[in-house]
């Protein structure tokens, strides 16, 4: 069944997109001001979540948006399929590129405290957590070694998000 997207939905889409662009700009400020890694990742996670919400709202309307943080792992790869238009003539995103985005998207999703992958991923960028051995971990002291946000991966992802957001914020 086709979903009717209203003018109010389109205002929501622009709202999510503009706020996601602002989150990405905040990430850049945090990088240059030497903020702890948890804060840089926190703004990346928020930008990714709102990018996905803009994408879903554009397709299904705001009323059908789930009240959840668990969007990024599923939706970012879909967004990549929809927006990735490689220069030089390729029509589709390469499978290896999609696999990288999917892996990074899952790691970004579990950075939100509400997304703990069934209790197995308590590490998050906002609140201290206690591991199975009773040790308490603090985000600003945590290395987040599991997320591979090395230069090449992250540049591609941020460019992809910005491309989608530019379309949705217009």
């Amino acid at each position: 069944m086709e979903t009717m997207v209203t003018e109010e939905d389109r205002i929501w889409v622009r709202g999510y997109a503009k706020q996601a662009l602002s989150d990405l700009a905040a990430r850049e400020i945090l990088v240059h001001s030497k903020a702890d890694r948890c804060h840089r990742l926190h703004f990346l996670q928020m930008a990714a979540e709102k990018t996905c919400k803009a994408h879903l709202t554009a397709a299904n309307g705001h009323d059908n948006l789930r009240k959840s943080h668990a969007y990024v792992a599923k939706v970012l790869p879909n967004l990549a399929r929809a927006f990735f238009r490689p220069s030089g003539g390729g029509e589709q995103i390469a499978q290896w590129e999609l696999a990288k985005i999917a892996k990074l998207a899952l790691e970004i999703e579990v950075l939100a405290p509400a997304c703990d992958d069934g209790g197995s991923r308590l590490d998050n960028t906002e609140y201290p957590w206690q591991d199975a051995q009773g040790r308490i971990h603090v985000p600003c002291e945590h290395s987040f070694a599991g997320i591979d946000d090395s230069e090449k991966n992250l540049v591609r992802l941020i460019k992809l998000m910005r491309m989608a957001l530019a379309a949705y914020a217009a």
Binding site: R27, E28, V31, H32, K34, R37, R40, F84, R85, P86, S87, G88, G90, S150, E151, K152, L154, V155, R156, I158, K159, L160, R162, M163, A166
Partner: protein, 94 residues
């Protein structure tokens, strides 16, 4: 870092330094302009990174990834950097 990027991404065609006019300032990040075959064409998107000593990167950096066509446009002056002071510097080899 440039050598690393050539190695991990076979689509990288060339890498240039971006000069800012404040290159001697120790607080300034290292800026790389990377020309990548098949890169998404969405203009100039500088992405900043903090130092990462575990990966041997002791300084902050900024990466700008563009397609070969965008690189030609930068060279021709039709795709300018947002920051007036930025200029394309020397090419780094693999």
């Amino acid at each position: 870092m440039a050598r690393d990027h050539f190695q991990i991404d076979p689509q990288v065609r060339r890498i240039h330094l971006i000069h800012s006019g404040r290159d001697n300032d120790a607080e300034e990040p290292i800026r790389l302009l990377e020309v990548v075959e098949g890169a998404l064409e969405c203009g100039i998107v500088p992405v900043g990174f903090a130092p990462n000593p575990e990966r041997g990167i002791a300084y902050p950096s900024v990466i700008v990834e563009v397609s070969p066509r965008e690189f030609q446009a930068i060279r021709a002056g039709s795709l300018p950097f947002e920051q007036d002071s930025w200029t394309v510097g020397e090419e780094l080899s693999a």
